[in-house]
């Protein structure tokens, strides 16, 4: 038996001598081949077998040598070499135009499918774009400073009794001493948090975005000046540099240089400069920079003590200098300067360097200047983006393949035999490229439209303008071509691997190649959807639980007024408190330096252990007044609370919580009573123990806490108000406050809102989960739709026959949908364990958590099943109601 004649192979080997001959241009060869094919087809149609037809056609084409001679004559007759090249180029261009025209026509004819495909890809691309913007923004923190690579932050590790505590700031002397000692420290600058009451005319502002700053700050960081001179702006005391927004706030549009603001009722600050607002990707931000000299005047000792950290210190190193070299010298340096100071307390102080560019994503130290990002998050998001895109592309491929198989049969023209398979491949790629371009364009539009929404929903910044820079546009174009090529290659490859005759006869459509893959993909997509829906439900359940927990103190209707440690208010605090309490709607009042929900850092207090020795313990300290314990409803379990009957309570008394008792190993709360304490010059004894209450978020277990009376640290007035008539109460209270404290703004917030804000990250997480879940379902449905289409195509004939034999539409729909329901069930079984494990892990970050129940899983399973049924049902309905005659006509 002779081997089957392969026409394509024969043509390919016929071409070869022509391609190596310079007499024939690419276009010429194309024309000759076209002619050859026409001849062969005609002869085959006339009845000749393939091989004979080919040989006869060759014969009739004429002699190769004659052709070569004739073509050469024409070739030399053409004007110049260059003309030949441009002609070649113009020809290829016109071919491309032809392909585009046909691709357009085809796409328009299948509007429905094209739209679905574009839509799926658009969603995937838009998500990708937004996520990439987010990653770009997070990754670029602090890099806008010219010398960013040379800037390092000086951080401190204080070790007390073998317990180290690492903080992101240092003591006052660190910066200047480093600069004096090491020549490689070209410049050093410090930032120290401040807060001022600013008065301007009859308006008062609480300025909390303020820092004391060294003048050298401008030598290190890139802070462009809009007005004023960076050299001198912060040199003298009582000078201020404003941000552009700050200047706007205080002075409107006018140039504020030389003007003054009154701070804390006593000091006159002169404005000496205005700098541009910092961009959003900066780890610190400010509106108000006061010269560091001012701090020297106002709090002379503050910056002389090494262990009194709180100064954010930055140093500038030379170019191409390895920071590790300086870091190696720091242990000796720190020991030399701080040994005397630290040794009496059995403590040590260490300094270290932290690169500026790593602060936002990698720093895990305590006491950061602003919120920090999470490096892990970036990885997660990048993976998510890649996943989304991949799924979108694969969906695209599936749908395109299903549609093409159908199309090949619809075209059905015999002339498809002998079609240049390379032509078909180029056609498919062009179609895919067109759809992808459309998708990319739409994705850019959608990303632009939704960016503000996402920004506010997720609390992130999405610098959309970056996408429109020429560099990124070029990259996007490249990406479009690559994605289009990838997506179009699969259907092109699939269809052209087989002989065109198979495609026509429909045997290709019945191939099972790749169906298993498609099924697996659908299962995977639904698995993810189910997991996400269940996950979202679990996240929200936990948030609900957390926010409705009994926290062990009074939360409702607690209005907290923040007066910024105002010294005047502190002096008159009893009077102010009584006056505010006198309002009929106020149930109780107290003043304190802390409220639950705010973290103020640990103190190292000395407390008497059961053995009788004074030991240092890190604990939280609440500065309160005599009314705080009662107002907040804290339970005394041993001893007594602070009382006016014992005036010495204001200096000698300490309250501790049960966690302290446990930490020290006292046998009972009573055993802790009467024990001595000592800190910053005060000493006395424990007079009572309060029951543990959750003064921090439910992320943390309850840590040791002490309370004592210290008016110089007061900053919050808590008013418990009646529930009704809040609308009138608040303005009333504000009025009253204004009379008592005319130049302090009535800066209030409700305690339960502040507490809820602790879970901001989780709320965002929940929202993100929800959005992602919706998208995943959408994409999964598209995938399912593609698969259902393909399988409906495969069974067109079967459906047609069944209909003719009298099957009802309903039974047909059931028949077609059965397989898919099975897929969703499998997906469900796979999703449940993964989700369970994943959510358990997430819940562990909470000290207090709900148990994962079966309801979220059931709900998500049902929801997914319903959506899947709708998707498949629609497709099955279409197939079941199609005209059976049409189905059976294609043999």
């Amino acid at each position: 038996m002779s081997t089957a004649f392969d026409r394509e192979k024969a043509i390919a080997s016929w071409r070869r001598p022509y391609e190596h001959n310079r007499a024939f241009s690419g276009e010429d060869i194309e024309e000759l081949e076209s002619s050859l094919r026409d001849r062969v087809e005609a002869l085959v149609e006339a009845g000749l077998p393939e091989e004979e037809a080919f040989q006869e056609a060759l014969r009739r084409m004429g002699s190769y040598l004659v052709a070569e001679e004739e073509y050469r004559k024409v070739y030399w007759g053409k004007l110049r070499r260059r003309h030949q090249l441009t002609a070649e180029f113009r020809w290829r261009l016109s071919m491309l135009r032809n392909y585009l025209k046909i691709a357009f026509r085809n796409l328009r004819r299948q509007k429905g499918y094209s739209l679905i495909n574009v839509f799926g890809l658009t969603v995937g691309l838009a998500c990708c774009l937004l996520i990439l913007l987010y990653i770009q923004h997070e990754y670029s923190y602090d890099r806008f400073h010219e010398k960013a690579d040379r800037i390092h932050r000086v951080v401190t590790t204080i070790e007390v009794e073998g317990r180290p505590q690492q903080t992101a700031s240092s003591g006052g002397p660190a910066g200047p001493t480093l600069k004096e000692t090491f020549p490689e420290v070209l410049q050093a600058a410090r930032l120290f948090r401040a807060s001022f009451l600013i008065q301007q005319g009859d308006q008062s502002f609480q300025e909390n975005r303020a820092f004391y700053a060294d003048s050298s700050l401008f030598d290190i960081f890139t802070l462009p000046f809009l007005h004023g001179d960076p050299e001198t702006a912060l040199a003298p005391p009582f000078t201020v540099v404003l941000s552009a927004s700050g200047a706007e706030k205080y002075f409107g549009g006018e140039n504020p240089i030389g003007q003054t603001l009154i701070a804390d009722r006593t000091h006159a600050f002169t404005i000496t400069g205005v700098v541009e607002d910092l961009p959003s990707n900066s780890h610190f931000d400010f509106d108000f920079l006061v010269s560091m000299e001012t701090l020297e005047v106002l709090q002379p000792q503050r910056d002389d003590d090494w262990p009194l950290i709180g100064f954010f210190t930055y140093v500038l190193l030379p170019e191409a200098y390895d920071a590790a070299m300086l870091a190696a010298k720091l242990p000796d340096f720190a020991a030399h300067h701080t040994h005397e100071r630290m040794a009496p307390f059995n403590a040590t102080l260490q300094l270290d360097l932290e690169p500026l560019t790593e602060i936002y994503l990698h720093s895990t130290l305590l006491g950061q200047l602003g919120p920090t990002g999470s490096f892990v998050n970036l990885y997660i998001f990048a993976t998510v983006a890649a996943f989304l895109l991949l799924i979108a592309i694969v969906n695209f491929m599936n749908l395109a393949t299903a549609r093409s198989a159908m199309r090949a049969r619809e075209v059905g023209v015999r002339k498809t035999i002998g079609a240049h398979w390379q032509s078909l491949v180029i056609l498919f790629l062009t179609e895919a490229a067109l759809l992808t371009s459309l998708a990319m364009g739409s994705a850019l539009l959608i990303a632009w439209a939704t960016a503000p929404l996402i920004e506010s929903l997720m609390g992130v910044h999405l610098p959309y303008a970056l996408l429109l820079a020429p560099g990124s546009l070029a990259l996007l174009l490249l990406a479009t071509l690559v994605v289009g090529g990838l997506a179009g290659s699969y259907p092109a490859f699939m269809l052209t691997r087989f002989q065109p005759t198979d495609v026509l006869r429909g045997t290709f459509v019945h191939s099972t190649h790749g169906v298993a893959l498609r099924k697996g993909l659908v299962i995977f997509q639904f698995c993810i959807s189910i997991a996400l829906i269940a996950g979202t439900a679990i996240v929200y359940t936990q948030l609900d639980y957390v926010q409705s927990q009994r926290l062990g103190f009074e939360q409702e209707h607690m209005l907290v007024v923040d007066f910024g440690f105002d010294a005047d208010v502190q002096r008159r605090h009893e009077l102010i408190k009584r006056q505010m309490e006198a309002h009929p709607a106020v149930v109780s009042a107290s003043i304190s330096g802390n409220t639950p929900g705010r973290f103020f850092g640990l103190v190292g207090m000395l407390l008497e252990s059961p053995q009788g020795t004074l030991e240092s313990v890190n604990m939280n300290l609440f500065r309160v007044d005599f009314d705080f314990v009662q107002q907040y409803g804290l339970n005394i379990v041993a001893g007594r609370s602070f009382s006016q009957d014992f005036p010495s309570d204001s200096t000698d008394a300490l309250l501790v919580n049960e966690a302290v008792v446990k930490a020290f190993g006292y046998p009972s709360s009573e055993a802790a009573l009467g024990k001595r304490f000592e800190w910053i010059g005060r000493q006395g004894e424990v007079i009572g123990v309060i029951a543990d209450f959750n003064y921090r978020s439910l992320h943390s277990p309850i840590e040791p806490l002490a309370l004592w009376i210290e008016p110089s640290f007061f900053s919050f007035l808590t008013l418990k108000v009646q529930a009704d008539g809040l609308m009138h109460t608040i303005p009333d209270l504000e009025q009253r406050w204004k009379q008592l404290v005319p130049d302090r703004p009535f800066n209030y917030a409700f305690l339960d809102a502040t507490l809820a804000a602790q879970y901001q990250a989780e709320q965002r997480f929940g929202r993100f989960f929800g959005v992602f879940a919706a998208l995943a379902i959408l994409v999964a449905c598209l995938g399912l739709f593609g698969l259902a289409t393909f399988m409906a195509e495969q069974r067109t004939k079967e459906i047609g026959i069944r209909k003719v034999l009298g099957a009802s539409v309903r039974s047909l729909i059931t028949l077609l949908s059965k397989n898919f329901i099975r897929l969703v069930v499998i997906a469900f079984c796979l999703a449940v364990p993964f989700t369970y494990i994943g959510m358990q892990y997430w819940l562990e970050s909470f000290a207090y958590r709900t148990a994962i129940s079966w309801q979220p899983f059931l709900a998500s399973g049902l929801a997914t099943m319903l959506i899947a049924l709708l998707t498949v049902g629609y497709r099955a309905y279409r197939a079941a109601t199609a005209n059976p005659v049409k189905a059976l006509r294609y043999e």
Binding site: E27, D28, E30, E31, L32, S34, S35, L36, R37, D38, R39, A42, R60, M61, G62, S63, Y64, V66, A67, E70, Y71, K73, V74, G77, K78, W91, S94, M95, N98, Y99, K101, I102, V411, V413, K415, T416, G418, A419, H420, W421, S423, L424, L427
Partner: protein, 112 residues
């Protein structure tokens, strides 16, 4: 079978005339000529295409590629304005020669 000279000289007017009634591609042209001449004139690809290309160089023809639905690509040729003009010239010349020969051979001139 025509002589080589005659086959060569008649190529141009024949092609121009066929294309005058509409554009066409190589193989179709060959078929048309085959049919018209009943097999007397049978050109092959190696001789036709160079002629077409030369005529295109001279500006008598314009070409464009088309891609069909099934992926087949063909190069189509059509007459330019100049081509129409040259066709008229060729027509006049051939008719003139035919008139002379008809007189010499005592036949009625068939082309009028």
């Amino acid at each position: 079978m025509l002589t080589r000279e005659l086959a060569g000289a008649s190529a141009k007017p024949i092609i121009l005339s066929i294309l005058a009634s509409g554009e066409s591609y190589g193989y179709a042209l060959l078929q048309r000529i085959e049919t018209l001449s009943g097999g007397d004139l049978s050109w092959d690809d190696s001789t036709l295409y160079p002629v077409l290309h030369r005529m295109e160089n001279e500006g008598l023809l314009a070409s464009s590629w088309r891609v069909a639905e099934n992926g087949r690509r063909r190069k189509y040729y059509r007459l330019t304005a100049k081509g129409h003009e040259v066709l008229e010239t060729e027509k006049r010349q051939w008719l003139r020669v035919d008139a002379v020969l008809a007189q010499l051979w005592g036949l009625q001139p068939r082309l009028a």
